[in-house]
């Protein structure tokens, strides 16, 4: 019986899927996903859309923090640049969304490149503080560049149109979001089979050793920022179309912390973990909301306590995961899976 990874060639080591089962599961999952808008209500479609966007954003952050080891507290700023970039390109330059989102993502990449420059001189804690400062400077720019961003008044985003049909409902935007989220997952999976991805991991594990092995630290660190912010740019562009109105308040430091929490709770340096984390963090407030609604009969103040309950549960989740399961939900998943494959001879 096959037990654990048994790889005898480079070819098998590089394969994206070890067995046929995950491929079949993925196909079934995609087919189910394609039919979801037919029977899901607007509420759950909205939640699913937010999950899709969060998956893209979390993948981007995980590439930077989980795989390359560069701590960034500036992810909300990347999302903001992507969102505002998309909105401005569409309203001011009149570009269709399928041109505006990639362009805005490229713009975010350029922005990420600038953001990443401190990483060439600083690391660890100091980089975290530098990105924190960059976050505040970016939000300041967005709030005060009123001619472009409308500042705190909010910037309206017209609905995207595809083949002459406006994508104005949750069901229609759903397909756009998942048409980007699914390839994003696969692209990331593939990235870590390539030279670039392995260079990232080498830098995370020991930068000096990586440099000795011929990995150019400058190039790959900046590349990690560029790729990561590209994802954030796409996620931001989708946020613009999902919420259709942009406020600077949607991109506070708390958003950056939420994304960090996603990859911590999901699993740092794990692609599946980014997905799990995005699902967990998006569902958490919804579950609390549902619990509060069902409790209002017995305890009428329950609804008012949601915001504070969310803060407490969120904080506790981060603390408990870091203390008891630092590798996150992805690790729990692997453990569960190996328990069933090895059953009844699990150890």
């Amino acid at each position: 019986m096959k037990c654990g990874g048994f790889r005898v060639s480079y070819e098998s080591d590089e394969r994206m899927f070890d067995t046929r089962l995950p491929v079949i599961a993925l196909v079934i999952f995609l087919v189910v996903l394609a039919f979801v808008p037919r029977f899901a209500g607007t509420y759950w479609l909205d939640v699913l859309n937010r999950i899709g966007i969060a998956v893209i954003g979390a993948l981007g952050l995980n590439i930077l923090v989980g795989f390359t080891g560069q701590i960034s507290i500036g992810h909300a700023a990347f999302l903001a640049v992507g969102a505002y970039g998309t909105a401005i390109l569409e309203t001011n330059a009149g570009l269709p969304f399928y041109v505006a989102i990639p362009l805005a993502a490229l713009l975010t990449s350029a922005f990420g490149l600038v953001f990443g420059i401190p990483s060439l001189r600083l690391k660890g804690l100091y980089l975290a503080i530098a990105t924190l400062a960059a976050h505040f400077i970016t939000t300041y720019g967005i709030i005060h560049w009123e001619s472009m961003t409308k500042g705190v008044l909010g910037l309206m985003v017209p609905p995207a149109t595809l083949f002459g049909r406006p994508l104005d409902s949750d069901a229609r935007i759903f397909y756009v979001i998942f048409a980007l989220a699914v390839p994003a997952v696969l692209f990331t999976k593939n990235l870590f089979r390539t030279k670039v991805g392995r260079a990232f991991i080498a830098i995370r594990d020991r930068d000096v050793a990586a440099s000795v092995m011929g990995v150019s630290l400058y190039r790959y660190k900046l590349l990690a920022f560029v790729i990561s912010s590209f994802y954030a740019g796409v996620a931001g562009g989708l946020m613009a179309h999902h919420s259709r109105i942009l406020f600077p308040d949607a991109f506070t430091l708390l958003v950056a912390i939420d994304y960090l929490a996603m990859i911590i709770i999901g699993g740092m340096g794990s692609i599946l973990g980014s997905v799990f984390g995005a699902v967990f963090m998006t569902l958490l407030p919804e579950v609390l909301k549902l619990t509060a609604t069902s409790l209002t009969g017995i305890y009428p103040q329950a609804f008012g306590a949601i915001a504070s309950a969310r803060d407490i549960v969120f904080g506790l989740a981060v603390i408990l995961f870091l203390t008891f399961e630092p590798q996150g939900l992805a690790r729990i998943w692997v453990r569960m899976r190996s328990y069933w494959t090895l059953w009844p001879y699990s150890y």
Binding site: A128, I137, R310
Partner: protein
Amino acid sequence: MSEHVVFMLQLIISGIAVGGVYSLMALGFVLIFKASSVVNFGPGELVLFGAYVSWATILQMKLPLLLAFPLTLAVAVLLGLVIERGVLRPLIGEPIISVIMVTFGFASVIRGFLNMTWGSDTRPFPVLFSQEPFRLGAVAVSPVHLWSFVGVMLLLGGFSLFFRWSLTGMAMRATADNQQVAQSLGVSVKWIFALSWCIATGVSTLGGIILGSVRGGVDFSLAELGLKVFPVVILGGLDSVAGAIIGGVLIGVLENLSGGYLDPIMGGGVKEVAPFVALVVILMLRPHGFFGKAEIERV
């Protein structure tokens, strides 16, 4: 004095007063970092906690000040112990990102807890000093600012003496310098870690009380002030107590001056961002700050 000079002096003086509070927060931050190399990303929530607890003891429970202050401090010290024991000790030796995130985590728990207990409305803070400003030449100084500054300086002076001369203070410096050597000399490193957190929450609470009485009210925007601690400690050096004190005052003055002179040109809000611009500049030019040890690992 010309009007221009008065305007500038006014900005500098209120900057120094606010900067004093930043110094207090930075002192707490530096203590924790020196002793246990933990970076606390939730200094604002500690300040908020202190401000709310003192509000509750003075106005809600209507205790006399002499009873309310020690009680508030005791609660704050207890919070420090809980954080150190429950949250940070299990993470000794974990990667920096975990430690950073766990501080965000407990900050979130504190925020949620305060919100749940006392709600998010602005609470009027007891007026501890008279509001009537007195004149120093042409410059008006409000007693709140003056007394808070005097209070902060006394505290900081007290702490300098404590670190310089007391046995515990020396043990703390020894631990900060080299944990293993300190331990082999009989210093209980665990106790020092706990103590540094207690002092940090204690001084943050005092900062909260002072900020509350300077602003005349407590609300959740106090927590955002906490992040100003980063420009301060980067300017002064992450591991320097003197740097924290001087850095706090400098950042306070800087943000007031930039707010006073640049706001009319750039349309407001410069005050909030100027310290962070300074932070980036200092990080790029002199990452260990002006008083810190130049031990930064270069990439």
